[in-house]
Amino acid sequence: MDFSSLFHEFGELTITGLAQGSIIALFALGYTLVYGVLRLINFAHSEVFTIGAFTAVITWGTLGLNQDSPTPGPAGLIGYLALGLVVATMASGITAVIIELVAYRPLRRRNAPPLAFLITAIGASIALSELVGVLTNRNNRGVPRLMKQASLVHIGDANITNLQILIIVVALVMMVGLDFFINHTRLGRGVRAVAQNADSAALMGVNKNRVISLVFLLGGLMAGVAAVMYVMKIGNIRYDSGFYLGVEAFTAAVLGGIGNLRGALLGGIALGVIENYGAGLFGTQWHSVVAFVLLVLVLMFRPTGLLGESLGRARA
């Protein structure tokens, strides 16, 4: 364990953790939304992310922007970024909705037991990730550099880059938007109603199927944004990139309180930061182990998470 590394790079690790945590938080929203409404861990959400990411990168590629291209200027940055966000969110959203329609809805119609849903979820996840893997030959795909990373702010000896600020800002904007949607719109009310009591909601005229598709769509949109942020930060993407991030995101959702949107935000940021400290201490290859271990600890000792669950209980 390398304490000196942790100590010296504390500021750096914290900032990186915040940025990474923002991505995780966005991704976590998808898990927490679906779990809150369906009590289901949507394992296939990680592929929703991956597909969004690849769509953005491939779109940029067809426009001639690939990993070797020079960074575009400010106008180009905004243009490409906007385009990337649009196609990624569309692809992710559509994928998410299709997954629900094809894999989960038939089971819901049959009132299948939860075990069946879980099995299907993992089947969908493997099928999609393998599909992407086969199509991409399991290769790493490089991502074009959209912005020149420049240090904008100094705090102590930690640098905050423009990219990190972008990520954090974008994540916050999406969160606020989602929060507003859920809490202040009619459709959002429908979501909350179905999450709390689907049958009563149906009796009140809420179209359960429509709400569920909406929930998947929203989660997909968030994942699409997270995907673009991720590829900009990491610089490459692979067919299984979604998997580890997915586990981290789910951990974050549980950490913050499953079903709780603000919990997902808090959990994501907390996890990002903790993982970075862990990487500082133990070395980067162990960082997903940190996530798993944290998940087990949270589930054992505080299964309702930091902010408490909005819906349902973790313990049997």
Binding site: Y35, R39, L40, I41, V102, A103, P106, L107, R110, N111, A112, P113, P114, L115, A116, L118, I119, T120, I122, G123, A124, S125, I126, A127, L128, E130, L131, G133, V134, F243, V247, F250, V254, G283, Q285, W286, S288, V289, A291, F292, V293, L295, V296, L299, M300, P303, A314, R315, A316
Partner: protein, 379 residues
């Protein structure tokens, strides 16, 4: 005079029809007298041992055997997959605990053998393969308990993801740790012992047939052991836990103990699979134990029919046989074998939608997984 199964009793007035439809093969088999059933089982077992000679069967034989890989090796693959499916079936099928990281136990068994017997190992003990078996299995069981103990009170979905994490932690550890040698792995792992009359080792490197027979024998022993468990208070407890855990506990079932045992036994069998595998391959590294492998075995159990051993055997065999049979077949510029995870991922979805009880339904699972909306508590 009492009848054994088969003669329907006319239902008393007012009571619901109490007979389950005795479908097809299962019903016919169940209705045969015991001696006939034992004979059929004996024939099946004999047929199993004769499988390496399948190519000699006229007409069908050459069609069925694998092209892209030699048939005895394909059979051996089927053997250890079946063993893994049987083990996972104990955890998922009998006890109803969704374990997504089953490859972890396989890895523990395999690495135990490697550490104790390979010349590459830092332990330097260089045991023979047979000597490593009890230690490897004990380690696997221990890992099952280590996994089981903190996770037992968790709900099914949380349990699933934690088991996933467990397998990944093992893989990452194997990858990163010096002792476990990452992707350099362990080579020159000794094979099972034995010399044939002419002095050459029985378990050599060229012919996988003896390994297959060894695997088949282990499978038979495991099946007998599991059968004993199923027909005892252990099997009843597992089923009760699956049906209604709280009610089971209130009826005196020690749920924690039996869930732990399910993990331990499943881990033990998985570990044994690892032992067998290493003995044949002679080499393992961290790339051997990917997560997809766990999902593949799960697909086998689910597809074959979880909750019953015949289903697990069939499913395990299929998840190995089908990809191996497709080796050498070109599909979109790739060897079809590469598509196996994709194929079985899709199959999982299709099975859960259209035939969740699997190919060989356990009487119980069939009723359990079908439309539960009809299963409203009476009045």
């Amino acid at each position: 005079m009492t009848t054994t199964a088969g003669t329907p009793q006319s239902p008393a007035a007012g009571t619901p029809e109490s007979k389950q439809p005795r479908g097809g093969v299962r019903g016919w088999l169940g209705n045969q007298p015991k001696s006939v059933r034992w004979l059929l089982i004996a024939l099946a077992v004999l047929g199993g041992y004769l499988l390496p000679y399948l190519a000699d069967v006229p007409v069908l034989g050459p069609q069925l055997i694998t092209q892209g890989i030699d048939w005895p090796s394909a059979l051996f693959n089927m053997a250890y997959y079946v063993l893994l499916a049987l083990g996972l079936n104990v955890v998922v099928g009998f006890a109803g605990l969704l374990d997504l990281g089953y490859v972890g136990f396989f890895a523990v068994g395999a690495y135990s053998v490697a550490l104790l017997s390979s010349p590459d190992s830092v332990l330097g003990t260089k045991w023979v393969w047979i000597a490593t078996i009890p230690v490897a299995i004990a380690c696997a069981m221990l890992s099952g308990l280590i996994l089981g103990w903190p996770t037992l009170r968790l709900r099914g979905d949380y349990l699933a993801i934690v088991t996933l994490g467990f397998a990944e932690i093992i893989r990452i550890t194997a990858d990163s740790s010096q002792t476990l040698r990452g992707d350099r792995g362990f080579a020159a792992i000794p094979h099972p012992p034995g010399k044939s009359p002419d002095g050459t080792p029985i378990f050599g490197v060229r012919d996988a047939t003896p390994y297959f027979w060894l695997g088949l024998t282990i499978i038979i022993v495991v099946v007998l052991a599991l059968r004993n468990l199923d027909r005892s208070r252990v099997g009843r407890s597992w089923l009760a836990i699956r049906e209604d855990e709280e009610a089971a506990e209130i009826m005196g079932v020690r749920t924690v103990k039996y869930k732990l045992w399910a993990f331990a036994i499943g881990a033990c069998i998985g570990g044994f699979g690892g032992v067998l595998f290493t003995g044949e391959q002679g080499f393992i590294n961290s790339a051997t134990f990917q997560l997809q492998f766990s999902i593949l075995v799960l697909a086998g159990v689910v597809m074959g029919g979880s909750g019953n051993m015949a289903g697990a055997i069939l499913g395990g065999a299929l998840i190995s046989y089908i990809p191996d049979r497709l080796r050498g077949v070109e599909l979109f510029n790739r060897d079809a074998y590469q598509y196996r995870f994709l194929l079985f991922g899709v199959i999982i979805i299709l099975i859960m939608i259209f035939r969740p009880q699997g190919i060989v339904p356990s009487r119980r699972r069939e009723l359990e997984l079908k439309d539960r909306a009809k299963e409203v508590a009476p009045q």
